[in-house]
Amino acid sequence: MNIKKTLIAASIGLALAATAYGAAHSPISARQAAMKAVGGQMRTLGGMAQGKVAYDDFAVISALEIMRDAAASARPLFPAGTEMGEETRAKPEIWADGSDFDTRMGQLLASLDAAIAAEPADLASYRPLFGAIAGSCKGCHEKYRAPEN
């Protein structure tokens, strides 16, 4: 097994661990673990979009799939009653604004599905797909994530 495949296997393992972690822990720590898994894949995906790392369609699709699974696992982890505690940075507006948060989570998943389905073969076709994913991360964080303490 070469290094790249080992790394990918390791990150799949991490994402699965995050999902399993979710089953055994509170929604707050589970969603934080899921977001960490999403962030980990963003490093691979972003580095490639920036041209820091040579474009590799296999690594991109793998990262996108892990990220989609982690994001999908995060979606139900914001039930009512988890607005506070455990140093959550989730803003109360998530629950106050009703369905907007869920719509945005849906948009993130849709942008991931679209990128996976497109199977971008080169950097030029990948960049706009990455831009849509990154834009959904940002839009939601700006609205619904409180600053770090």
């Binding site: 490093r43 920036q50 991360c137 940002k138 964080h141 409180a146 600053p147």
Partner: protein, 241 residues
């Protein structure tokens, strides 16, 4: 209704003021700078220059340094003229200014004159071989107004230039931008990419006030973002407290 904070798209051009700035001296409210009677209609370019570079109103009174003229004092005359020409094209907003809420003795406007004698000068803060980056960071960008700690009188502590500061809004700390601070591991390209996209090298997203700073700097030229990044990487290192 306050204009500005969190505004998107066309609403970003409605500079009617009202955004509150909490400080240890009281709460300041951003004024209306649109070409309306409640704003700055009728101002000449010289009036704007006096405000930005000297902190003086057309009536000759001192502005409070919450208006960052101690940074803007470095703005080049041509940029003042260009700013004036641009402000004149923006939509007028008929919003009456909110008076600042300051406690004694800070409510005595005249004492700003003494403050200026102590803290207002347009000297370069550090030695730099990067004049464009220096101009953008120390002047127009007024980065130090949040990223440099202040003394008891509200003057910037130049010995800890851009080395981070308590957040006047309460939560957290404003990051240390010097090479031994919070960006120690960031490259010039990382900083420049952050200022363009809002993503850190870890691909976390920018938070709080930097969201809007990035929104604006994403419209600057790539050369200007690189100049800012190079200036920051060349800062004198100041460790976190």
């Amino acid at each position: 209704m306050p204009y500005g904070k969190g505004a998107k798209d066309e609403a970003r051009l409605l500079l009617g003021g009202g955004q509150a700035f909490a400080t240890p001296f009281g709460t300041f409210y951003a004024p209306n700078i649109t070409p309306s009677n409640e704003g700055i209609a009728g101002w000449s370019t010289l009036d704007l220059a006096n405000a930005l570079l000297r902190g003086v109103s057309p009536e000759g009174t001192h502005y409070y340094p919450a208006f960052p003229y101690s940074s803007y004092t470095r703005i080049a005359p041509q940029d003042v003229a260009d700013l004036k020409a641009y402000l004149d094209t923006l939509p007028p907003v008929a919003r009456v200014n909110t008076p600042h809420e300051l406690s004694f003795p800070f409510n005595i406007r005249r004492s700003n004159g003494a403050w200026k004698l102590m803290f207002l000068n347009d000297d370069p803060v550090i030695e730099s071989e990067n004049p464009r980056g220096q101009y953008l960071v120390e002047g127009l960008g007024h980065c130090a107004e949040c990223h440099t700690p202040r003394n008891a009188l509200g003057g910037l502590d130049r010995s800890r230039w851009l080395a981070g500061a308590p957040n006047p809004e309460g939560k957290g700390r404003i990051p240390n931008l010097t090479p031994s601070g919070d960006l120690a591991e960031w490259s010039v390209d990382d900083i420049s990419y952050y200022l363009e996209s809002g993503f850190t090298p870890e691909f976390d997203t920018a938070g709080s006030t930097m969201v809007e700073v990035v929104e604006n700097l994403s419209r600057a030229t790539p050369e200007d973002r690189l100049a800012i990044a190079r200036y920051l990487k060349a800062l004198p290192a100041v460790p976190n407290p």
